[in-house]
Symmetry: none
Subunit: 392 residues, 2 copies
Amino acid sequence: MGIIERIDAPTNKVAPHKKTGRTIKTGTAKPAENTAKLPLNSILKMDCIEAMASLPDASIDMVFADPPYNLQLGGDLYRPEGGQVDAVDDAWDQFDSFAAYDAFTKAWLSEARRILKPNGSLWVIGSYHNIFRVGASLQDIGYWILNDIIWRKANPMPNFKGTRFTNAHETLIWAAKSEKAKYTFNYRAMKNLNDELQMRSDWVMPICGGQERLKRDGVKAHPTQKPEALLYRIMLATTNPGDIVLDPFFGTGTTGAVAKRLGRHWIGCEKEDVYCEVAEERIEAALPLDESSLKTMQSPKSKPRVAFGTLVETGYLKAGTEICSKNRKFKAKVRADGSLLWEGKEGSIHKIGATVQDAPSCNGWTYWYYHDGKELKPIDDLRQTYLLATEP
Amino acid sequence: MGIIERIDAPTNKVAPHKKTGRTIKTGTAKPAENTAKLPLNSILKMDCIEAMASLPDASIDMVFADPPYNLQLGGDLYRPEGGQVDAVDDAWDQFDSFAAYDAFTKAWLSEARRILKPNGSLWVIGSYHNIFRVGASLQDIGYWILNDIIWRKANPMPNFKGTRFTNAHETLIWAAKSEKAKYTFNYRAMKNLNDELQMRSDWVMPICGGQERLKRDGVKAHPTQKPEALLYRIMLATTNPGDIVLDPFFGTGTTGAVAKRLGRHWIGCEKEDVYCEVAEERIEAALPLDESSLKTMQSPKSKPRVAFGTLVETGYLKAGTEICSKNRKFKAKVRADGSLLWEGKEGSIHKIGATVQDAPSCNGWTYWYYHDGKELKPIDDLRQTYLLATEP
DNA sequence: CTCGGCATTGAATCCCCAG
DNA sequence: TCTGGGGATTCAATGCCGA
């Protein structure tokens, strides 16, 4: 951990953290030259827009953001044009306030989009106060929404006055950099987490409390600390080990702690001294998982491909064998080159499978069966056997 | 039912429905003079903006709107077994751009706000395709958001291609006409429905199917018919008997049917002839539901289900831990995604449990044990601990 | 009659590499 | 950039049919 990137602008102050020795950066920064020089696994101690501006284009795999919900953006209000104003002597009507929030939102979303790799993705969390503005803004900017995810709180705070429904959830948006992007989604890992059912868009998780909730002098260190389980699922789902995750509103560093545990690199942006210190200590204490624990089940599409012909070549299935559909209605003959022959027609296991069913497509691996002496088995079993025998 | 309001503009065509005799209005309309002359319990057969323009200011208690979602689907989508998904490709869901959709949205939201009484409220339902734009637009216009409500679908359509999280919910926004409004919220009724617990912002309900799903010549009459249970809860929560509920996108009239059953007045706007006819017949046939069936419909007792992966995510059992069979004969390693690793084989706790025993199946919860410092305990104990900690 | 198996279906932004 | 083709991919509820 701790690639250190000095920043040459005269206004910079580079202050190694007293305990960890990791560098926290402050002040204005110039764009880095390339991905190799990214300030990995460290906190950029400045405004997130400024911090992201110091990073090169297309260098980040995933951005997770938990932006402020209100319009008091760390003490500074933002005008639509981007200039800061004095909050005290200016009475803002509602529309101006929304416009200011939108301007701020689009500013950081745009920087985040610039530094994302083409196939990178963005996560944002919010409540009804801000999430609609964030969602509309990111669509306007060109992000492509992939899912909205509901974090259903297992133990929310009740609505004490009884004037509304108990606000028992928060909303996350998962978006790709563009419509055409080939984003990362570890489908099999998610299905595995969910007892062999597809992971849904509603996630039940407890709020952050107990031992996990960071305290400072007996009071909570951050008002909206997110549970590690949330970041765990997000990173497991949409990043790979070794990826770079950036969090523009780092707070007490949940993103960094989980990234370290899961073998991902992280970069945090955070203005507040106190949060930076708490985050540094916390991440320092986090334990990374070993490589074998980190491995997740892979979808077949990311496994090495085995051609049907290979099974014929290697004798797992002999040329001349007759294979059939599950109900034995259709029978086809395996030829030496791995093609099938059915009623004079020839083609791949998939093509002939589709042809006999008069279907637009077909997975021949699961459609066709062979007879192993006792019973019918899908030819996919042979492929699995082959894979087990040939893989280390 | 059936206060009929003639509209005098010369272009109007007033066509009594052949079965019910209730009037369906078409063409351009002039503003009515006052609330007493509202076209209660009838369908205004025209564009909703035009229809609402014909109604007086501050005359409606609640608006429920299910606007087009602007889905922007790609090509055809096939199911794994070969069938084709019946997509929503209707013309009314097509918009040229976000800007066009926003303009449309603000137009109908503005008219709706004008006709709402000062203490009236608005409900809108949508998905991630449109709800962020709708939410931001209504905030811009001056509505005040009270809650966002998540309809968690008990039986959503799966993600067939395994490319994203299953889209298992839709979002509703409940908003008052203005920040200062004294909106209606029947707190006790909601608490009653929810077994003496405050009603939360996430509602579990099945999608509309079975007998409730309206058919026309054997095919669904409307592609996006909403379940009556949803409208029941909404009206019960935020209107009083005798109130006037308007639905700008009436479709097959779920809003009207539920309003009738709950003793509320309704007004629907709908352009399509077919939908109007289906809605008229349906509402005519609607009968009040007795309270017991209402309550059972609203309180689906769902068993808490905890996936093994949840325990890993939340840290109850850390990735990398070794778990074993009761006699310690077999040891397997827990991985980050909740899968087990044993002698190069990977799978769920149940599958690997079956594999090591060479059994057809296995209950992994009782088969595998973890070491808690002193002794071996079944991993099912951890599940119980988790449930105790998170269930209210 | 019931029970089990099989087919159908629901607001869906639903593949990806090689040539 | 476009095309062709290998091959990966589903959950819960309802309703029908045959045993």
